[in-house]
């Protein structure tokens, strides 16, 4: 019987919509106090796709995250939704890692696991490199497909749809094992059940630090990165919109007046 063992790479990211972000003292990052952290949206879809495949074909799902204190919450979420194992890559030295350093850390943890597929979100909502999954594939020396919108698996073979521009998709055949980076909308991520949360609470997390991964300080963090953040700043505004103020009724009235003046209504 054909089974798939899947490793899912997930990340904890802050919810930043409708939130005022402030810069930290270094000017190279943001203040994280008071921000609500959750699982990166793309990773929710990657996890769901892994769970759907596991339910259809059998096999195990292992969730992996690299993150500081508190990042275990995303692993608990993965376990509660149905992942079998969880690995937390946690070390002070990982701070400041770019896409490359992050992929190296994930690679060190993943390479010893038995897997047929590695899945990751196509990008993260914070840094948005959109590169970690594909770098990981190259480090593992296995094929990859990015921005995947559909997965079909057979015995040792794999067919996926990649999202291109303008609503177009391409169908690609891949050899397994492979890395897939998953695009949002590929499935409908399930909710976490109370029973799942209870079960997840009792499960063990494997915690691995720099030395456990066989890496040195030069491999990770800023030293091990391709890119160094010099400064973070608010984007300049090229065009100030006319801001409408007043009660909803007044605002609506003014807008409709403007539409009428332009012959739009």
């Amino acid at each position: 019987m054909f089974k798939v063992n899947i490793v899912v790479c997930v990340k904890q990211t802050p919810e930043t919509a409708e939130v005022e972000l402030s810069l930290d003292e270094s000017g190279r990052g943001i203040k994280t106090e008071g921000l609500v952290f959750e699982m990166n949206e793309w990773d929710e879809y990657a996890l769901e796709e892994a769970l759907l495949l596991k339910e259809r074909l059998g096999g195990e799902v292992t969730a992996v995250t690299m993150g500081p204190e508190g990042a275990d919450a995303v692993l608990r979420r993965c376990l509660a939704k149905g992942a079998d194992k969880a690995i937390w890559l946690k070390d002070e030295a990982f701070k400041g890692s770019d896409a490359y350093a992050t992929a190296k850390i994930l690679h060190a943890a993943v390479k010893g696991l038995e897997f047929d597929l590695v899945m990751a979100g196509a990008q993260a909502s914070d840094d948005g490199h959109g590169a970690v999954g594909v770098i990981l594939a190259e480090l593992l020396d296995i094929p990859h497909a990015s921005m995947v919108k559909k997965v079909e698996t057979g015995e040792g073979s794999l067919k996926v749809n990649r999202e291109l521009e303008g609503g177009l998709e391409e169908v690609v055949e891949l050899a397994m094992p492979a890395v897939l980076t998953i695009q949002t909308g590929i499935n409908e991520p399930r909710y976490v059940s109370i029973m799942g949360i209870r079960r997840a609470r009792k499960m063990e997390l494997t915690v691995m630090a720099l030395a456990d991964l066989g890496l040195s300080k030069e491999d990770v963090g800023e030293d091990g990165s391709w890119m160094r953040v010099e400064r973070v700043y608010r984007p300049p505004v090229d065009k100030e919109p006319v801001m409408m103020t007043g009660s909803p009724d007044e605002i609506a009235g003014a807008l409709v007046e403007m539409f009428r003046a332009r012959g739009l209504v």
Binding site: G130, E138, E165, E170, E173, T184, M227
Partner: protein
């Protein structure tokens, strides 16, 4: 002479716009740093493309092979890693597109050279490659430097730089021999799947009323449908609404959906990710309604309302209906 390389992107018999945007940006970086601007073209029977590109670059490197007809990251990586390791360009530019995202990260690892993705600006200062990127969905910008190396790879956000007109003087076309065995061992292009057309083509609408995450629940959709009806327009949306299956894919405005240029575009509860903005920034008049005053959508809007869409949308619908009622 040291070079700046631009990888030409083409699909279904056309060079893609991002190619010309990169060549234009590449031209200004090359001139400022004494570099040659070289385009790289992998294709099948691509003489026409090569000629077109020679109007923009000092040199066009062409590799022709049947397996380069459609994009294949594996085959492209094999060819490009060879070209880059031989020529050691200071910088190679690729689009941050479905094409570049699949290719650039693996290429950089194979070559062991630094990569920066989704960049909205690129400069070389005192030998250092500096890039500007956006983080947190466009709420903040980052200025970053790449590790010093002989060669670097940068992926460029589409629709960020303006494509210039071709120059009178044409660059040379240099034909390169493809590898003896083109790598299509682990990854094979099968076919394209075209989007299914919907009941209406929102790209044809004069008035588009679009919603995003701010609509919160599927059951709130009538709010926007009523306003679109009153304005005799159509309903559009941003990606999350399609991801949740609340509206069909043919209603999606943005880089992975439709590009629209209506007379009026109302963005309600849409934060304004660059993917969405790419699809609607050509609208004649943009009105943005969002609770978050820092939402990136306000950077491209003509009129902005910082308020609750659940209050503003019904008020707008009502005002338009009042206007239409015969008086007296």
């Amino acid at each position: 002479m040291a070079e700046l390389l631009v990888l030409a992107e083409h699909r279904m018999g056309e060079l893609r716009e991002v190619t010309f945007e990169m060549l234009s940006k590449g031209r200004s970086i090359a001139e400022g740093n004494g570099l040659d601007l070289t385009a790289v073209l992998l294709g099948n029977g691509a003489d026409g493309f090569a000629d077109e590109l020679s109007g923009y670059a000092d040199r066009v490197l062409v590799m022709d092979h049947p397996d380069y007809a459609d994009f294949n990251a594996e085959a492209y990586q094999q060819a490009l890693s060879r070209i880059i390791s031989e020529r050691k360009p200071r910088v190679t530019l690729l689009g941050h597109t479905s094409f570049g995202v699949d290719l650039a990260p693996a290429l950089a690892v194979e070559l062991g050279i630094p990569l920066a993705t989704d960049c909205i600006d690129i400069n070389i200062e005192e030998g250092k490659v500096l890039v500007t990127r956006q983080i947190y969905g466009g709420k903040l910008n980052v200025e970053a430097s790449l590790r010093e190396a002989d060669s670097h790879i940068v992926t460029v956000r589409p629709a960020t730089f303006e494509a210039e007109e071709p120059r009178l003087e044409k660059g040379e076309i240099v034909k390169l021999k493809p590898p003896a065995t083109v790598a299509v061992e682990h990854k094979r292009f099968v076919e394209y799947v075209e989007p299914t057309p919907g009941e209406v083509d929102i790209a044809e609408a004069d008035v588009l009323v679009s919603i995003g995450r701010g609509i919160k629940d599927e059951k709130n959709l009538p709010l926007i449908q009523e306003l679109a009806g009153a304005l005799k327009g159509e309903v559009g949306c941003s990606r999350p609404i399609v991801d949740k299956n609340w509206l069909p894919k043919d209603r999606q405005v943005g880089s992975s959906g439709k590009t629209v240029k209506p007379k009026l575009y109302i963005a309600a509860g849409i934060s304004g990710s660059f993917q969405h903005v790419m699809g609607m920034k050509g609208a004649e008049l943009i009105v943005a309604i969002n609770k978050d005053p820092k939402a990136p959508i306000f950077r491209i809007a003509d009129y902005g309302v910082v308020d609750d869409i659940f209050k503003i949308l019904p008020a707008l619908t009502q005002k338009i209906q009042e206007l239409k009622k015969p008086t007296g």
